[in-house]
């Protein structure tokens, strides 16, 4: 592949949770290759992510996944400008596999090493799908482990407006799906069921308000209300309509996300709102957010579904903006399971 001298090509690695992934990204916007190896089938029988399985499989997968990403990109390893890797937050054993691999490559090839925050990666996934998108904008990050409402002030500069006080949105989906016997991963299972069945207004679940912060979320209250509903129905010997229950739960969670994201965009005067993370591919969320943004005159962006769930392309996109700012990590870069957004 021909490249100009000004092009920046980054090999990126992601292994913070379920997925072992590698990608080659040019100039933060162009995806030359993206390879994702998932372990969801393995985790299904356990009803969740099992860390030990996760890290063992990362070790087995990482070499072929990285090799494949390089081969598909058509870029020679010696022409990479930097090696980027997710170093937090996530499961420590899983993160360590990617971090150790990236450090070894950077050292052996004498290339710069760039550690990337996983959530910053999710936000940057939008840059790959939407070349015209530039900061500042508001972003709702929703996944199995995270629920953040963030202002992206500039590349790599963030201000957190709101976050979950208890469960992440995706976690609430997983736990409710498990309680009604839909299995793992809960989000896609509930989404699929509710596309064709279930009345979202059948049961009114509360949208918990959080004292002190208008834009914080609480999903544990909705989860408890669902479980109470199931318990009470069982005590009375009543049959539960699973589809109605799932649709009403989804409506409560999605309404909370939409109200706060659109509310904050209006309050702070943002005409651009983005979504990121696995839950951003939920079709009910996309539909309701599309409608509310249109009413409010806000332009809505979200990545294509393959870039919503964990992947390395988004890490390469975020790393590019770190690279051009001159951010470099040393070989002492460590996995940081509780890394905070915006922390360096």
């Amino acid at each position: 592949m021909r490249m100009s001298d000004k092009d920046v090509t980054i090999l990126a690695i992601e292994s913070s949770c379920d997925e072992t992934a590698a990608a080659v990204i040019r100039n933060g916007r162009e995806c030359l290759s993206s390879v994702i190896s998932t372990q969801i089938a393995l985790h299904t029988e356990f009803g969740g992510v099992v860390p030990e399985i996760a890290s063992r499989k990362h070790i087995e997968k990482i070499t072929p996944v990285v090799d494949e990403a390089i081969r598909m990109s058509g870029v020679d390893l010696k022409d990479m400008d930097a090696i980027a890797v997710t170093y937090g937050p996530g499961l420590v054993g899983s993160l360590l596999v990617g971090v150790a691999f990236a450090k070894s490559m950077a050292f052996a090839l004498d290339k710069p090493l760039i550690g990337v925050h996983h959530i910053e990666g999710h936000i940057a996934a939008n840059f790959l799908t939407h070349p015209e998108l530039e900061p500042p904008f508001a972003c709702l990050v929703v996944s199995g482990g995270h629920t953040h409402l963030v202002v992206v002030k500039d590349y790599g500069e963030y201000e957190i407006l709101g976050r979950t006080r208890d469960d992440a949105a995706g976690e609430a989906f997983d736990k409710v799906a498990r309680a009604i016997g839909l299995g793992y991963p809960g989000g896609p299972k509930i989404d699929k069921l509710c596309k064709t069945q279930g009345n979202p207004h059948a049961i009114a679940f509360p949208q918990a308000k959080v004292n002190g912060s208008e834009y914080d979320f609480s999903f544990s209250g909705i989860k408890s209300a669902v479980l109470n509903y199931i318990n009470q129905a069982q005590m009375k010997g009543e049959e539960i309509d699973r589809a109605d229950l799932a649709a009403s739960f989804q409506h409560a969670v999605v309404s909370a996300l939409v109200n706060r994201a659109v509310g904050a965009s209006k309050e702070y005067g943002f005409k651009t709102l983005a979504m990121a993370g696995g839950v951003a591919s939920n079709s009910y969320l996309r539909k309701m957010m599309d409608e509310e943004c249109e009413k409010a005159g806000i332009k809505l962006y979200y990545p294509e579904p393959i870039l919503c769930t964990d992947n390395a392309a988004m890490i390469g996109a975020a790393a590019y903006y770190e690279y051009i700012k001159g951010v470099r990590h040393g070989y002492d870069l460590n996995a940081s399971p509780n890394l905070k957004l915006g922390e360096r």
């Binding site: 949770c17 356990f46 969740g48 992510v49 099992v50 860390p51 030990e52 399985i53 890290s55 937050p89 996530g90 499961l91 420590v92 054993g93 199995g144 482990g145 995270h146 976050r163 979950t164 006080r165 208890d166 469960d167 992440a168 976690e171 736990k175 498990r178 309680a179 544990s220 989860k223 408890s224 669902v226 479980l227 109470n228 318990n231 009470q232 005590m235 399971p337 509780n338």
Partner: protein, 143 residues
């Protein structure tokens, strides 16, 4: 000891009192069904320790450290642990036998590795007594 609470605020307050008395090296085991209020209890406990950061469910990262309180708080949620050997990878011994206080949600899932002198807390619902009623049974601690 068995406590009965009738609102989330009362549960939080009980947990805060326990957190206030927590001592370095103690391990608290927190059990109870999904949605019973383990995270709420953890938040009250953390407040009692003087933690000012947000305490949320650490299901995703398995363990979260809060070190801005009176003692470091090691907050585990082992809901996603499939086999107890997976705890080795997290380096659990460093925390169970460390300088801070451990609070372990879903502790029953890793029973084999729990210290004998841990404080056990079980939260149970009884829908017949109202949706906010909780029976909280505590063993290994005097309040």
């Amino acid at each position: 000891m068995v406590f009965e609470t009738f609102s989330p605020d009362e549960t939080y307050e009980l947990a805060r009192r326990i957190g206030e008395k927590a001592a370095a090296g103690q391990v608290y085991l927190l059990n109870g069904d999904l949605g019973v209020g383990k995270t709420l209890f953890s938040q009250g406990f953390a407040a009692g320790l003087g933690v000012s950061e947000y305490v949320n469910s650490p299901t995703f990262t398995i363990m979260q450290i809060y070190d801005d309180g009176r003692l470091p708080m090691y907050h585990f949620d082992v809901y996603r642990i499939g086999d107890v050997s997976e705890m080795d990878e997290i380096g659990y011994e460093e925390y169970f036998y460390g300088e801070g206080v451990c609070l372990i949600e879903w502790a029953e899932l890793v029973e084999e590795i729990l210290p004998d002198d841990a404080v056990s807390i079980l939260i149970e619902k009884d829908i017949a007594r109202g949706v906010d009623y909780r029976k909280i049974s505590i063993e290994g601690l005097e309040l």
